[in-house]
Structure formats: structure tokens, C-alpha cells
Symmetry: none
Subunit: 413 residues, 2 copies
């Protein structure tokens, strides 16, 4: 079965924006055994979009549209699909009632314009949106199906997962696809590939994909077979040697993110952690607390961006700061020790460094970052020199800090 994807929105035709929803959608479709044969981006132009929808539905069994379901005049997807299929738009009282209630919950009056979102293409099924106000639609026409999904990625993903994947799974011919999903940190993408390519290159099934983002690496091994047992055997045959090569750089085998993995380790050990952040300014705390229930183990934190705050809030000795500088092993260790003492946490992480674009008066190269650690046994710190812009350097350092905690909790290194 073939699929096409159309992203709708004039903003996606500017020099600044790309449609990235299609990457997620392609990955999910591929898992179902469906191939994406064409993608398009169409501006907020009803006629042009209607023509594209008509053409796509005439040659492919599956069409996914993202965006253009908002309440404004330039949201043309509903109208365009109706036009393409020569159907009417029908006002749905239940959707209007749901919208009104949703606004009431937020203590806001619903603008009249939002009623536009209560129209469905005649004969379409409504796909509920649990993250926003734009309902999706599922429209079938002579053997083909079009899915109208909202543009914001978190809305689209939730809707696609809850409504579309189960329905597609029933449509698509049975094939077993099993995936081995490893998450790895502490090495670069090309180093990872160099290490494991000699293993996975020998196979076309399972297919191996390596994804890298923000210092986090993912390895996907995907086996397609007639039976589950065959697929699992293939994954074991290829995944086993890969896991052996990677050792403790693999931090997750179930998709859990690094902050979830370290959170679970802390919880299992009845431990709490505090943070002291200079260059990352709260980013490490934000990662910890992005996990629901993190109050079980996240004690608290300090954002000590200046030397004065490092001294006042964490008790770092001003003489030590003057002697070694803010970006140093000594300061990183003292920050972690101070954060732990002032919160009574079991352990503490600290970050200090030069995130750029300049060194902020410190005599270190841009990208030089220290991560400190303190627990009952004492303190230590390690440094790395990162490349890239401010945001990349900060993100990679936070990843490194979480990995320091993981390794400490596992008693490694």
C-alpha cells in the first residue's frame, strides 16, 4: 500500500520553515509496512490544494494532510478536501458543543470564528484532538482514505497514534514488524556508526537506522517477517553483537529518555538529586522536571549564573573562584557540594562552562564545559570541549550531566 503526505500552510513555503511532521508520519507508516511515495507542501490556497488532494487520492490508497484545520480564513484544508471530493461541509453540533465546553474550562469565551472547526466533510468521521481545538477527520472515497490532521506536531502525533494507526493496521496486509530500539549516549554519531556498521552492514533485514539529536543517539533495528518468532530471532542475531560492542553506553532498550532512566534509578535507590547550573541556566532542572512524578527524587536547584550567586547561594569560596575561575574543576565540584548541602539531597550535579558565543571573561575556549558531582563519598568533576552554537553546547552538556548521574548510580566509571 502506498501513502502520500501533504503539508498545508503558506508558512511552510517560506525560506525559514520545513514540514517535519512528514518524518514522524513516514516512520509510523513504514512500521505498518506502508511506503510513502510522494510528499508535497501546498500554501493556503483552496483550489490548488483541492487539485493536489484529488490527484493524490486517485493514485495512492492513503493520503495524510497536516495543517490548515485552524479557525481562521486561511485554514483551507476542510474546504479543499470537500471540493476535491465534491462533497458538502456539514456543521456538527457535538463538535461545536465540545469546543464551547473546552473554552469554558479555560475560562475563555469562544470566538465566533472557532465554529469553523465544527464542520466535517460530508461522510467523514471525526478524530478527537486531546491537545488542541482542531478536530481531525477520516474521509474515505472509492478505496482510498484521506486523514486530515492538525499541524502542531504534538497534536498531530497524539491524534495519529490514537486514531489512525489502529485503523490503518486493520487496512494494511498483515506482516510482522519487530523493532529493537537502543538509546545510547556519550559518543558521536560517526563513532557509533564506525563501531557497529561491521555488524549491521551484513544484513538488509533487519534494517538499521541511526538517529542523532542533541547528543542523544538512537539505533533502530527493524525486522519484517512472516512470524513474530522469525523477527525476534533476526533481531537477536544482529542486536546481540551490537549491544555487546556498545556495553554500558546503551542506557535504554524500551525508548525511555535519559531523564526517565536516571529518574527511575534515583527512585529505586531512594535517592534525591539537586542541581546547580551556571551556563545552562535551568536547562538541567527543566529536563529532570519534564518527567511527571519527578518530585519523588528531584530535590531542587540553583541557577547561579554569576560568581556572586555561586558564592552566596552555594557557598562557593570567592577565593577559589578568583584562583581557578568559574569554569574549572574546583568550581564545578564546589558548586555540587554546595547544592547538595543546601538541599540535603543525596547527591548533586553541577554545570559550569563557556557556552559562547564568547568566553564571558573566563580564560577558557568556548565550549569548555565542566560537570560536577557530589555525594556522601565526596565530589568529582569531568570536562568536555563541545563544538557548535550556544544552544547545542548547552544541550550536549545537560545530556552529559544526566549520564554522569546514571553512571554514578550504576557504580560505573
Amino acid at each position: 500500500m502506498n501513502a502520500e503526505i501533504i503539508a498545508v500552510g503558506s508558512e511552510l513555503l517560506t525560506p525559514e520553515r520545513l514540514d517535519t511532521n512528514s518524518l514522524y508520519l513516514t516512520a509510523e507508516l513504514n512500521k505498518l509496512g506502508v511506503e510513502v511515495v510522494a510528499k508535497a507542501v501546498i500554501g493556503d490556497d483552496r483550489d490548488r490544494l483541492a487539485a493536489a488532494v484529488r490527484a493524490a487520492m486517485s493514485r495512492s490508497e492513503i493520503l495524510i494532510l497536516s495543517g490548515g484545520l485552524g479557525p481562521t480564513e486561511d485554514d483551507v484544508t476542510r474546504d479543499a478536501v470537500a471540493q476535491a471530493l465534491d462533497r458538502k461541509l456539514v456543521f456538527q453540533e457535538e463538535i461545536a458543543a465540545w469546543l464551547t465546553e473546552r473554552f469554558a474550562k479555560a475560562r475563555r469565551k469562544m470566538a465566533e470564528i472557532n465554529k469553523r472547526q465544527a464542520f466535517l466533510v460530508e461522510g467523514a468521521g471525526m478524530l478527537s484532538n486531546d491537545r488542541g481545538t482542531a478536530p481531525g477527520q477520516w474521509v474515505e472515497e472509492s478505496g482510498a482514505v484521506a486523514m486530515l490532521l492538525p499541524g502542531p506536531p504534538h497534536e498531530l502525533k497524539s491524534m495519529f497514534e490514537r486514531h489512525c494507526i489502529p485503523r490503518l493496521a486493520r487496512m494494511v496486509p498483515k506482516q510482522v514488524i519487530r523493532t529493537l530500539f537502543l538509546r545510547v549516549t556519550g559518543m558521536g554519531e560517526s563513532d557509533l556508526d564506525e563501531l557497529i556498521a561491521p555488524v549491521y552492514k551484513k544484513y538488509t533485514n533487519p534494517a538499521c537506522t541511526i538517529l542523532a539529536a542533541h547528543g542523544d543517539l538512537q539505533i533502530h533495528l527493524r525486522a519484517r517477517c512472516a512470524t513474530e518468532a522469525q523477527a525476534d530471532a533476526l533481531l537477536a542475531e544482529v542486536g546481540g553483537p551490537i549491544e555487546q560492542l556498545l556495553g554500558d553506553r546503551v542506557y535504554s532498550r524500551n525508548g525511555d529518555s535519559l531523564e526517565v532512566v536516571v529518574g527511575n534509578l534515583l527512585r529505586e535507590n531512594h535517592a534525591t538529586v539537586a542541581v546547580a547550573e551556571s551556563a545552562t541556566g535551568g536547562m538541567l532542572g527543566e529536563r529532570f522536571t519534564s518527567v511527571p512524578g519527578s518530585s519523588d527524587y528531584f530535590a531542587g536547584g540553583f541557577i547561579t549564573y554569576t560568581n556572586a550567586m555561586k558564592a552566596e547561594l552555594l557557598g562557593v569560596d570567592p577565593q577559589l573562584l578568583a584562583q581557578h575561575g568559574a569554569v574549572s574543576r574546583e568550581t564545578a565540584e564546589a558548586m555540587a557540594v554546595g547544592a547538595r548541602r543546601r538541599t540535603n539531597a543525596t547527591c548533586a550535579l553541577s554545570i559550569t562552562g563557556a557556552a559562547g558565543p564568547d568566553s564571558g571573561g573566563e580564560n577558557v575556549p568556548v565550549g569548555m564545559m565542566w560537570v560536577g558531582w557530589a555525594d556522601a563519598a565526596g565530589a568529582m568533576a569531568i570536562s568536555r570541549q563541545f563544538l557548535g552554537d550556544r544552544q547545542r553546547i548547552r544541550t550536549f552538556t545537560v545530556q552529559m550531566a544526566l549520564d554522569v548521574l546514571r553512571r554514578r548510580m550504576l557504580g560505573r566509571k
Copy 2:
């Protein structure tokens, strides 16, 4: 004049790859006054590509194809364009000679297969490639032109710059594009549209686009005219009333983000700010410190995720916490007062709330968020009820906190 862009290559239909050549091409076309009205990605499938080429050339004056010009069987662009226009491919001795010479220079023998690159669509002009072996092509057909460019970005850019821009500049009517870019916060997308649609709807030039992300709204007004003065006059005519309607909800006219705008306000006022974050766990500090030079005004912060830390690090009275709860006006104010006092900052922001998925034991609905403020004159706090998942609620609250600071610095509300 309108343009379409087609990227050719099955690798661009995988979950890992995006066509980014189109961003460069769009920027260059826009500079010439040409709008991109559709983009597509087509796999290595001759018939499908031929159909897409035929459709694009029938509705747009300019079609740019990237990729699929290599020497292998799966490089189908030449054949597809010939098929679409019902023309032959013609072998060009000069191109073959140039290829042979190019290989000889690199001391390599040309594979027989490379001769495929010496074929031009009948009637096409050759576009020389100074970075690779794939020559480009310029093909005209009844008022439209198709440009066949190589896929590797550095080859494509060089070829487009040297050959296509000069030719397009002669084809395209002289035109100037000027943009007014407003950034707005503190209202929803649909409320914004309802407010300003009566103004912009009266015009097709300038074109108005509204973008929403993470509680931040952008309005783009783009005027196309023969002269700069005409474009600026149009922008003033439409932008003036829009700005008047929005009033102080407009925070930026030059593209600056909210954290940059409030940072500049703090710097101009020789003020410093501290933060105390509960539910957002460092996200507000992270926004402030994402701006290089923020140490000028960002004093520091506290991540007080638990009641104990609110009391210990910020000096919030435990009785007050017990009486009003952690998610309350009183706690938000006390957190801001405490953060300000303990850092000696000019002012402080605090955030406390229930970011979900549950209320964390507090007797408030999920999404109920308080932002507190303290300065020399005293303390205040405001609340809002946000919808959505944990990450959305946290992001919107941080945006709201930055806007509280902006309004306070401007002496408003």
C-alpha cells in the same frame, strides 16, 4: 510569477531525511519577487515524476527540479522531464568530452554508465556544473521553464547562482518585496485573528500570515510592489491599524524573541531579575540565559520543586504553604519576594502551578498556573488556567511570566 520546486530522490522519502535545497531556492526566488506556491518530493519513479512535472509546468511559470541527475539507473529526472514534455533525449558529444576530460584530470577512468549524464532533453540548454559531474538543464515549454539541477547542495547553489538567477532576473517583472514582522503575546491565535482580520482581509497585497507556537504569535505582512516606497506605504496603511488594535500586546517589530526584548528592557533600566520556579523546574531560567550576555541582568534562580525547598531556599513560611497550598497567589508572591531578597536582584519572577498530568496533591485543576512578581514596591501575582499536556502548560506559563516582566518594566497593567 509563481514557482514550484520538486526534489527528486527516494532517500528524501525516508523518516530521516528532508529536502533542504528548497529553503535556499525559496529565499533566492523570493528575492527576485517570485513566490513559491508548492513543493514536492518524488521518489525515483519516472512515471510519477513525469506526471508531477507536467502538472507543475501547466500551472506555474517556473519549475525547479533538484536531484536525480546522477549516472545510475535510479536517476530518473532527465527521462521524466523528456517524457513529460514528449521530447527525446539527445546525446551531446561536447558534454561527453567534458566528462571524459574531468575524469582524466582526477586520474580516474570514466565508467561507461557516466555517459548517461551527457544526454539533454531535446531543445534544452546545458547548465555547466563546476562542482560535480552532473550537468544541469534549462528547458522551456509554452511560457514555462523547468530547471534541472543536481541534488548536492553545493553543486545546486553554484549552478543556480551562476546560471539561473541571471536568466530569471531577465524574465521576472521588476518587483520589490517588503515585510512587516510583528511578534505578539498574551492572547490566543483565534482571538488575534478575530481582532485583526477586519483590517487585513480588505487587502490581498500585503499578504498576511499568522503563525502560532508555544504561546507566541507572529504576524507577517508581505507587500510586493514596483518600488520600495510603494511597498512601505502599503505596509504602513495595513500595519498601522493592526498595531493600533494590538497595542502593547506587540512586543517586537524586528523579530527579537520575548526573552531578548525583556533582557534589553532590564539592561536599559539597569535592573536585574531573579527567578523562583516550581512547576517549570528551570525552564524560565533557561529562556533568560539562552540569550548571550544575559549575565548583565540575570541574577540567578531557585528551582524549588517541593514545599520543603520553597521554605528552605526561598524562606516561604510553611504555615502560609499549609494554609493556601503551593499553587496559590500567596505562595507565588512569597516565592518572588524570597527569590528577590536572597539574590538582591531588582525584581523577581516566580512560577508555581499544576502542570499535570495530575495536580500533585494540590487542590487545583491541572493547568492552573500562578506567576508572581516582586520588586521594591511590593509583590503581586496573576493566574491562568492553561490547557494541554505538561510540556505545553509549562511553555505557555514561561511565556506568560516573561510578559509579566515586560509589562512591569513598561509600567503597564
